[in-house]
């Protein structure tokens, strides 16, 4: 019991620090890509910027609109934050020599647990947007909910291909099954589908219709301020980190070393893969414009879903024949 608590506390600290610096690096990278320096005033090279941001958010006034539903309005950020962190109870980061994973809990139905928790995460956005009692958040929330439900389908289908190849739903088992060949090679189509749906699931550019500034002010969090806004913000970045971890575990071999480079410890490979995926995210944001809403839905239902289904059928046939 005590060990689990200590592990959780350490993991919480690691995830929060990663969030803080992921945010800083995103601003830096976007700055460089747009030929400007990015934040560089607070601390050397701008490294203390996250602390300054946190202090600012904590000291801001916490506003609740008159039209808001007080209970749900306060509850929604917590749902977002809770579901974002709950996932880390089962994400393994590496393995000991005897094969036992570095994780708080090693759940058999690991990948299903992940899907269950992320399916609850939608409530933060939809309830928060609804409870604000104002039109922009409501529009953002309805859009976000529809988008997340639509893309979740294709995402789950891309998982199933991996599950069939690995023959297990345990995340550790899936990583162990990739010792020889990483699943993004046999499941190339599944990997592409996963990358697209992952960006859509976390509501990031080019799928950030939920908070489209040009049309919806701030989308579902327009009315939120101070730490409540901060909770949504943290949840978004932690979710980004989560989908990067899943991409690394399911498709990029987790902590397995490529080309037999086993002198570098597995945890470093894992961090490297997650970092590369996070960088890809930021790259996308600096490069691509936003989708139009109807095109987003058409793409999700009429392109992604059929391709994901085809991929599933092909994988099933291949597994059955071998």
């Amino acid at each position: 019991m005590l060990i689990v608590l200590v592990k959780s506390a350490i993991l919480l600290l690691v995830v929060l620090t990663t969030f803080a610096y992921a945010m800083l690096f995103e601003r830096k990278i976007m700055g460089w890509m747009q030929l400007r320096p990015g934040p560089n005033r607070v601390g050397p090279w701008g490294l203390l910027q996250p602390a300054a941001d946190a202090a600012k958010l904590i000291l801001k006034e916490d506003l609740t609109p008159k039209t808001a539903d007080p209970l749900i309005y306060r509850l929604a950020p917590f749902i977002s934050l809770l579901t974002a962190f709950a996932v880390y109870a089962i994400v393994p980061f590496g393995a000991n020599g005897d094969g036992s994973p570095w994780a708080i809990g090693d759940v058999n139905a690991g990948i299903l647990f992940l899907m269950a928790i992320s399916s609850i995460g939608v409530y933060g956005i939809s309830l928060g947007g609804w409870a604000s009692g104002s039109k922009f958040p409501l529009l953002g929330a309805v859009r976000g909910t529809a988008q997340m439900i639509s893309y979740e389908l294709s995402m789950s289908l891309s998982f199933v291909g991996v599950l069939m190849l690995a023959g297990t739903t345990s995340l550790t088992g899936i990583v162990n099954a990739q010792e020889r060949v990483w699943f993004f090679i046999p499941q190339a189509l599944g990997f592409i589908i996963y990358v697209i749906t992952a960006v859509a699931e976390t509501n990031r550019t080019p799928f950030d219709l939920v908070e489209a500034e040009t049309e919806l002010v701030g989308g579902f969090h327009t009315e939120y301020s101070g730490l409540r806004f901060g909770s949504f913000f943290i949840a978004e970045y932690v979710n980004m980190l989560t989908v990067s971890c899943i991409a690394s575990l399911l498709f990029l071999g987790g902590w397995n070393a490529p080309f037999g480079l086993t002198m570098i410890p597995g945890i470093l490979w894992f961090v490297l893969k997650v970092g590369a995926f996070m960088f890809f995210y930021m790259w996308l944001r600096a490069t691509l414009p936003r989708f139009r809403y109807d095109r987003l839905m058409t793409f999700g239902w009429k392109v992604l879903l059929p391709i994901a289904t085809l991929n599933l059928v092909a994988t099933a046939a291949w597994v059955a024949l071998h």
Binding site: D69, L112, M115, A116, T145
Partner: protein
């Protein structure tokens, strides 16, 4: 046993809140809590797969639709006008019936002979290769081997329901074979609707 009692209390309180809440959105939130507590009871019973499915299907999909409807209809803003001092007849009768059924089940369960140990039997029959009650393997064996026919029939019924909904509530344009004529029909229909509006 203590976790069970805590969860049971949460279950009952959240269920009561669901039916007594005066705003539909509060009912949704308490139902969400109820589903989470129910999933936890499944976990206590070692039915991991069932717990996860409870969350994915009910909380993630079905309850989400409720939120959607409430958000779109905006009916959640105003509390339902029922009158506090009046007990509605039909729900009261249903509640009484449910209470009788619950007590009967409890008595029957108390008098039933003890079932075989969990490791060899499940309510779905003898366990298969998955060999753990409630595991994915066990679930799959039951679903695709011993209970395949009911499963497929359910799928067919749901399919019919989906097709029916699309037919009843879907696109109003009549079916036309070519794309060009479909566009013409759609335009004619739109103009007809606009004329009606004036």
């Amino acid at each position: 046993m203590i976790p069970f009692w805590i969860i049971a209390a949460v279950l009952i309180v959240s269920a009561l809140w669901t039916v007594t809440a005066r705003k539909p959105i509060y009912s949704v939130v308490s139902l969400l809590l109820n589903f989470a507590a129910l999933a936890t009871t499944y976990l206590i019973l070692h039915a991991e797969f069932l717990a996860v499915m409870q969350i994915i299907v009910y909380s993630g999909a079905i309850l989400m639709l409720f939120v959607f409807v409430i958000a779109l209809l905006n009916s959640g803003i105003a509390a339902v006008v029922l009158g506090r001092d009046r007990v509605p007849v039909a729900p009261a009768a249903a509640a009484a019936l449910a209470a009788v059924a619950f007590v009967a089940t409890a008595i029957a369960a108390a008098h039933a002979p003890a079932i075989a140990p969990i490791a060899t039997h499940s309510p779905l029959g003898a366990v298969g290769r998955g060999n753990v009650f409630g595991s994915i393997g066990d679930f799959g064996q039951a679903l695709f081997l011993s209970r395949l026919l009911p499963f497929e029939i359910t799928a067919l019924i749901l399919m019919v329901a989906v097709v029916g909904v699309v037919l009843l509530a879907g696109d109003l344009t009549p079916y036309v074979p070519t794309r060009r004529r479909a566009e013409q029909t759609r335009r004619a229909l739109r103009e007809a609707i606009l004329r009606e509006g004036k």
